[in-house]
Symmetry: C2
DNA sequence: CTTTTAAATGATAACGTTAGCTGATAACAA
DNA sequence: TTGTTATCAGCTAACGTTATCATTTAAAAG
């Protein structure tokens, strides 16, 4: 590997001068600069990032800690962060931490060890307190899809509650009053907010949503959706529409309903959440709440980089809004 | 940040000893080792990766260059590589390079600059020659989903041809002789191999697949599938089954067929390729060729790490086989 | 007890870069 | 001219490790 000294020797200058040319900082004579640039090109010199990181005590890399890249949602998240990175000459380090709080902490530790100054963290297992503690130590740490009041300026999050309200109102506007909800069994803050939003919206409309109309799936995927809808139908209640926790569960529901000869949306309407590729791949195409993950991740990455360099914790908040995407899985019940 | 010197000072030993304890190499007294380990714990010392990389001239990080993490296929690829990483205490650097040869080369360069010794590269824009050149410079470079005879020991690839043959045979076995093919318009080696495989299989069965039965989509996604199937149907030929280049195009086809009142599989059978999540989300669930990307990426990552450390280019080859997943999108035409 | 050998620890230099200082020109005002 | 600044370039030390060698200490052998 050619080093800065090689370039200096060939160009007949000192390493310092080469360094100045490379970084474009400090005063360098015109002729001298040209000469050095030529040599850099000739030898195709590339500064050693590790040496730079060592001396400058930070690494120009952005860490992304998510549950699993292979999941569409997180892939898109990673992609958004990566985009931001290209604007800043940063590199992206991705770590999957799926299982436990310990795994998440290990991931963060590994990033710190790397002197990764900017980190976008999608945590589901750590407590608010733990996260606050981490935030104190790591200036460029940003939480995505999570809100903690104490460190609000580091949280890039989505108003799940309002999103769920919008989805609910859409069903109401379409004449649906016998609406069921399918959500995940585990305690997940998103699920909680969405459920609250739904209840709020129906309450506001003067409709009491009976708890028997809420059913749970053990997993937040297609299988969970199928399972929950089976349990729901077993109750034999009048249902004209179902709000799903997310698109994956919604698609599972559609499959199960289809298998039983129940048509979507003619017999039962379905609304998803997230607006993943799967929502448009589904037949009928899912009406769903668009979750702007890519934009949020992009924003979060920039924020993390900003926080890691300057330390202005401006009062800014970083709340995003989901919005409804009308497709084909909801029928107008008034028309019937 | 606490450094090795801090640990040494507190433990009352030299940095060398601490280094030995950390790495578990060299002779260290029992009591001394215990003492140092305690101090490491107390101070929660973590070696600086950048310093290690600088002095050892390599960085224990695995680079992954793909088109786009947000695409299901690549997300799964990245995930497989990440898995392998956990076994080796490596970190994963992901770079998206979507557009051009230059972008791909930039990505590799950036990785090299990082002294990233192991790289898994999914190239679609670079020529064989360019790749061979790179391979010569970078010992831990592995190509995934690509075969180049000259550097066969670095190629982890899939037998697309045989896979396509299997898919074709499956249709033949189900009585389909009027089969159309929908593939991508651009010159893509995978598309080429799959098409060849299809033609071979039908030839072997004594059936001449007319070129008018092959239609092309401008993009290898749902839109491309729709576009191609529209063009295909416009020809007004007898078709009982369609082989799609991949699942995304297949799902697009299913949508377009559905919109025209053509039932899948009752009127036309459809076979996909890749076995992405979208294949099982589709209604009907797609019969498709399973592409073991996760396993391949896992394998490729290990291979890259191996090649970067030892330099044994054993004669091993790394060819994987796709296999058919029977689901619901193919009907038995004999039965009709 | 010496002497020899092995084991444990320390000292030093190096990895490639940058920050901060010092010195050498050149440009300008008095 | 002479002094005063700018402007430019080089020198040195430092970042946190590890590899290599040197030294000390302990154990084993004679």
């Amino acid at each position: 590997m050619v080093t800065i000294k090689d370039v200096a020797r060939v160009a007949g200058v000192s390493p310092s001068t080469v360094s100045r040319v490379v970084r474009g900082e400090g005063k360098v004579g015109k002729a001298c600069r040209a000469k050095v640039q030529q040599v850099i090109k000739d030898l195709s010199y590339r500064p050693n990032i590790n040496a730079q990181a060592l001396v400058s005590k930070k690494s120009n890399s952005l860490g992304v800690v998510i549950q699993k890249v292979s999941m569409s949602f997180f892939g898109t998240l990673a992609c958004g962060a990566e985009e931001a990175t290209k604007e800043n000459k940063y590199r992206v380090l991705i770590i999957n931490a799926e299982g436990s709080e310990q795994e998440e902490l290990d991931a963060i530790n590994s990033l710190v060890q790397h002197r990764c100054s900017a980190i976008v963290f999608h945590s589901i297992h750590c407590s608010d307190a733990t996260l606050c503690e981490l935030a104190e130590k790591i200036s460029g740490l940003v939480f995505i899809n999570r809100f903690i009041a104490k460190v609000a300026h580091r949280c890039v999050w989505l108003d799940n509650n309002l999103g769920a309200q919008e989805a609910s109102r859409y069903l109401l506007d379409n004449g649906h009053t016998d609406v069921a909800v399918i959500t995940r069994k585990d305690t997940n803050p998103d699920a909680q907010s969405r459920l609250e939003g739904i209840l709020t919206a129906f309450n506001n409309a003067g409709i009491q949503l009976d708890s028997s109309m809420i059913e749970y799936g053990s997993t937040a995927d297609m299988a969970g959706g199928k399972e929950a809808v089976r349990a729901l139908l077993a109750k034999d209640k009048k249902i004209t529409a179902i709000l799903a926790y997310n698109d994956n569960m919604a698609v599972g529901m559609v499959h199960e309903l289809h298998a039983r000869g129940i048509r979507v949306p003619e017999d039962i309407s379905v609304v998803g959440f997230d607006d993943l590729l799967i929502a448009v791949a589904c037949l009928p195409k899912l009406t769903t709440m668009h979750y702007p993950v890519r934009e949020m991740a992009h924003y979060a990455a920039n924020l993390a980089i900003e926080l890691s360099t300057k330390d202005n914790s401006t009062g800014r908040t970083h709340l995003f809004m989901p919005h409804l995407i009308e497709r084909d899985s909801v029928a107008n019940y008034n028309a019937k």
